[in-house]
């Protein structure tokens, strides 16, 4: 855009956040420390205007509501052989029936419950382990860091799915809780790594020294000084672990390694595949669970991208 020498404004740059514009630079010109995470009201303002966040959240909440009330909407039990085999969707069986005569809708909404259970429990456990290992390694440094780092790297390079397959083959996975625990115990390394890196950089900030000079110990400092500074990151990390756990759980179920007497989305895909539903054209059997997984996990990831934009002023499109 060509502009004249006097008058017209050449509008080029991206904006600098108000806090950076107002806060003074130091005399040596060293850059200001990053602007603080937006206070709550600013967060809501940006959150509601970010379509990715709103869309993702709505999608996930939608599925969650379905998981909660869905099973009450249908009289049929998910594993009961009540209906016609390979029945198309009808008023009686909204999502049709499987080749064994089971109600797909009922299976679907119960499967959603299992998915959320595995996601929250498995993701939550991974989050807890990852955060603890990451904070401790990052803050303590030295020998503690070396040991924890080695542990993290070992668990990281082990092919998770292979291990889970082996373990699941030996440990009879009877419930989704067990499955969730297995997933939680193996998917934490990348989270630990990320938390460790952030902790390293925060540890060198002088407010940590000031907290030490106030007589606070390691645990108190991590919980009251360091973790709150990373709150947005920790939230996003949980969301990613949540989604990841659902995916891994579905994969395990699809391979037939999850609980067999229960119902889950992965298991539905498994059964439909084994019964050649694709060949038979019973799309109503595998499409809902597939879309369900894509919907929840995709929704979570899109929500996360939105959150990143909300928390990081530089990414906002205004």
């Amino acid at each position: 855009m060509r502009v004249g020498p006097r008058g017209e404004i050449a509008d080029v740059g991206t904006e600098i956040p108000a806090s950076v514009a107002e806060a003074p630079l130091t005399p040596t010109g060293a850059p200001q420390t990053a602007p603080p995470p937006a206070p709550r009201s600013e967060f809501l303002y940006f959150a509601l205007r970010n379509w990715k966040f709103v869309f993702g959240l709505s999608l996930v909440l939608g599925f969650f509501l379905l998981a909660l009330i869905g099973p009450h909407l249908t009289p049929h039990k998910p594993l009961a052989f009540t209906g016609p085999t390979d029945g198309r969707p009808s008023s009686d069986y909204w999502f049709g029936t499987t080749s064994f005569g089971q109600d797909v809708f009922s299976q679907f909404v119960n499967g959603l419950r299992a998915a959320f259970l595995v996601g929250i429990l498995g993701g939550g456990l991974a989050w807890l382990i990852g955060a603890t290992v990451g904070f401790t390694a990052g803050y303590r440094g030295g020998a503690v860091d070396d040991v924890l780092n080695m542990l993290t790297n070992v668990v990281l390079v082990i092919p998770t799915l292979a291990i889970l397959i082996i373990v699941a083959a030996y440990v009879n996975v009877h419930s989704y809780v067990t499955e969730a625990i297995l997933i939680g115990l193996t998917s934490w390394p990348w989270a630990a790594r990320a938390v460790r890196a952030q902790t390293f950089s925060l540890k060198t900030r002088e407010f940590v020294d000031v907290a030490r000079l106030t007589g606070r110990n390691t645990r108190q400092i991590i919980v009251t000084e360091i973790a709150p500074n990373m709150s947005s990151y920790l939230l996003m990390m949980f969301i990613l672990l949540f989604g990841g756990a659902i995916l891994i759980g579905a994969s395990l179920d699809f391979l037939g390694l999850g609980p067999s007497e229960k119902v889950s989305l992965g298991l539905m895909m498994n059964s439909s595949f084994l019964s050649s539903a694709l060949l038979l054209g019973s799309w109503w059997w595998f499409l809902p669970p597939g879309l369900g997984i894509v919907g929840i996990v995709g929704g979570l990831y899109v929500m996360n991208v939105g959150l990143d934009e909300i928390f990081n002023p530089r990414l906002r499109e205004l």
Partner: protein, 302 residues
Amino acid sequence: MLKLDACSKTYRVGAFGGGELLAVSDVSFEVAPGEVVALIGESGSGKSTIGKMILRLLRVSGGTITFDGVDISSLEGRKLKEYYADVQAVFQDPFSSYNPIFKSDRVFAMLRHEYFQGLSGSEWQAKLERSLDSVSLSPPDVLGKYPHQLSGGQLQRLLIARALLLDIRILVADEIISMLDASTRIDVLNLLGELKSRGLGVLFITHDLSLGHYISDQTIILRRGKVVERGSTQKVFGNPIHPYTKMLLASVPQLHKKWEEAATELEVPAAIAGERPIAAVEETPGPLVEVEDDHFAAVGPE
């Protein structure tokens, strides 16, 4: 009051901690009540390391640091907390010294939680206001604000006010004004002067010789972890003995004297384009020798 005796700090470096880095070596000095000691050195001199050792943020590798005769490396738990009621610090970057997601008065709240639980609300408020008053800050201006809403000078003074709440006897001031504007620097410096006259001992760590000269009673010149000269400020600046001290004095940009003049006066060759213009400075300065009363310089190699 505070005494350092042949202190040293070694770091392990290298892939498996095989190598050693000697950050501070054989440093001894004392800080008496009502005395400002300037610890002057360039980057890599170890001055901040010494400050952190005194604050127990780093462990001493060799030698001892004693406070009122007690070896501070033996303090743990409650005793360490008592030590911190006597010795506090203010650091270089005011914006890094506050957790940016909390309001700046949280530093006071933390202190109250750890040390002053017995005080009632109004007692605490009165104590806080007295402390803020002694650093020339008015409570409505600074309380309830986030760090990015305050200026560097105000933040540094808040930290001094925090330290004063504890009735400390020693303040470690690590480059506390180097990130402030010229017009506010002098105010914070004058504040230190006032506190000194009330009996506070200050360890003033800086790389700026003119600031050190303005405020301190005793000066210690540090180079690569070793003391090369120390003594009363007027004697060290008035009659510098060690070539490194002379070189530092000659390099300070002054407002009414050009560099060539200063260099000639101090008998130092004019700076040539080189990393360390003075080749005459020995690599390992020897032990300190008394040059005159209250003035020691390292002369000759070991």
